[in-house]
Symmetry: C2
Subunit: 226 residues, 2 copies
DNA sequence: TGGCATACTTGAACGCGTTCAAGCAAAGTA
DNA sequence: TACTTTGCTTGAACGCGTTCAAGTATGCCA
């Protein structure tokens, strides 16, 4: 229990974080593919196979980064939502926090989105491995929608957090492949897309929109599956 | 010039198609990843490195398949459009033809969509390598929209083929990862999504929609880039 | 016919992600 | 003290996609 008795496992943990940091540093520098496990091992000053004692695969390192990011972002998100009233401002704030947080590790996130939306790959925001993160995000969007100042049709209410999460993923997806200077295009897209989404949600309540909304709800049911 | 004189290059072409067929057969049987170049070579009865005389990479075989499919589908598309009047019927027809044509090679297409929409990977419907195919598809959608019976707002007209192509890619993307029996979920999605899209296009002409449409057009401009 | 260029084919070799039998060191037990 | 257990580390080896120097066969011209 004192520091002495945990010296072994403490050293191990130190080795683990050293490996993760070496990996992330190399991912940032040369990209996920170009960073070899051998390079990572050299940088972390361990043997070639050492990383596999801590991570089942190279991709698992990205997953770990994704999970840590989710936790680290929570206070930033809470703070950003303090100062943002109204759905449009809140959506913008959340997305800006996320992009800013992921910012330096854009190439790491690119690896996460490599397999698109295929839940069969662990390294996908739709996989079972990332379900916990997805659920946390959904809670955020539920919170954002509460008292946002917009009348939400009753039948849409339950689905809207999922829709906004999907929208968020679309923005992030655009961002990771956006090679414009400082991801300027993503900034423009964010502005216009958030505005469009909020306008659409407002419009969804119109009586005229009822048939389209019903069809859209069926569509959502199919996409959710099972 | 007679069959004798071309015996060498003819044999080579035969070898090339044998390699492609072996590859596609293995892709279908065990999937793109599990099918190794060594297995393909054995099946095609050539040496390990032989495929690289015909294809620069394993992925290039998928690209070749994609290009051939595009050509092979043309008569089927023309025929399907003969019997389909109205935008909704036409859209449904085109997508059904495509899915039916790709049908047996769903796992091959999965490899094509592996890298999502990243134009940096050759194996992506958004890459420069697949631009020719994209342009052919865009021509089809332009044709579909001509005299489709729906009044299209002038400012949207030029962008709509691209939007529909994007929509098509979404459907195909859903299809390749849809593991429901016979891809039943995709059939349901297709029905509802086509209906929604057509309704949206109709609605886009309404005076009420002008601001949203203008924002959407700006959005399209940003996504198209440069 | 012989010689040469061109077209095609070969399989060993490279670096990759990953696996694993073996080794090592520190903590627990007697 | 010696023995065992546990936690951690090692590097050789595997199969993968890919490369390429070397080989073989074919068509063409003297």
């Amino acid at each position: 229990m004192p520091s002495k008795s945990t010296s072994s496992s403490a050293k191990a943990e130190e080795t683990g974080t050293r490996i993760l940091e070496a990996a992330l540093a190399l991912f940032r520098e040369v990209g996920f593919d170009a960073a070899s496990m051998r390079d990572i091992a050299v940088k972390a000053q361990v043997a070639t196979g050492a990383a596999y004692y801590y991570y089942p695969s190279k991709e698992a390192m990205v997953l770990d980064f994704y999970e840590r990011s989710c936790v680290d972002m929570e206070p930033k998100l809470a703070e950003a939502l303090e100062g943002a009233k109204g759905l449009e401002a809140r959506l913008r704030a959340v997305l800006q926090v996320k992009l800013a947080h992921f910012g330096p590790n854009r190439s790491v996130l690119r690896a996460l989105l490599r397999n698109g939306a295929d839940p069969k790959y662990a390294l996908s925001p739709f996989s079972t491995e990332t379900k916990a993160i997805r659920d946390i995000d959904l809670d955020w969007y539920q919170k954002i929608l509460l008292d946002c100042g917009i009348r939400i049709p009753k039948d849409l209410e339950a689905e809207l957090p999922g829709v906004l999460w999907f929208f968020q993923m679309g923005v992030i997806f655009f961002w990771v492949i956006d090679d414009s200077a400082g991801q300027k295009r993503t900034a423009q897209l964010l502005e216009l897309a958030v505005k469009s989404v909020v306008t659409l949600i407002k419009a969804a309540g119109l009586p005229l929109m009822r048939p389209l909304r019903k069809t859209a709800l069926e569509l959502i049911e199919v996409v959710k599956g099972e």
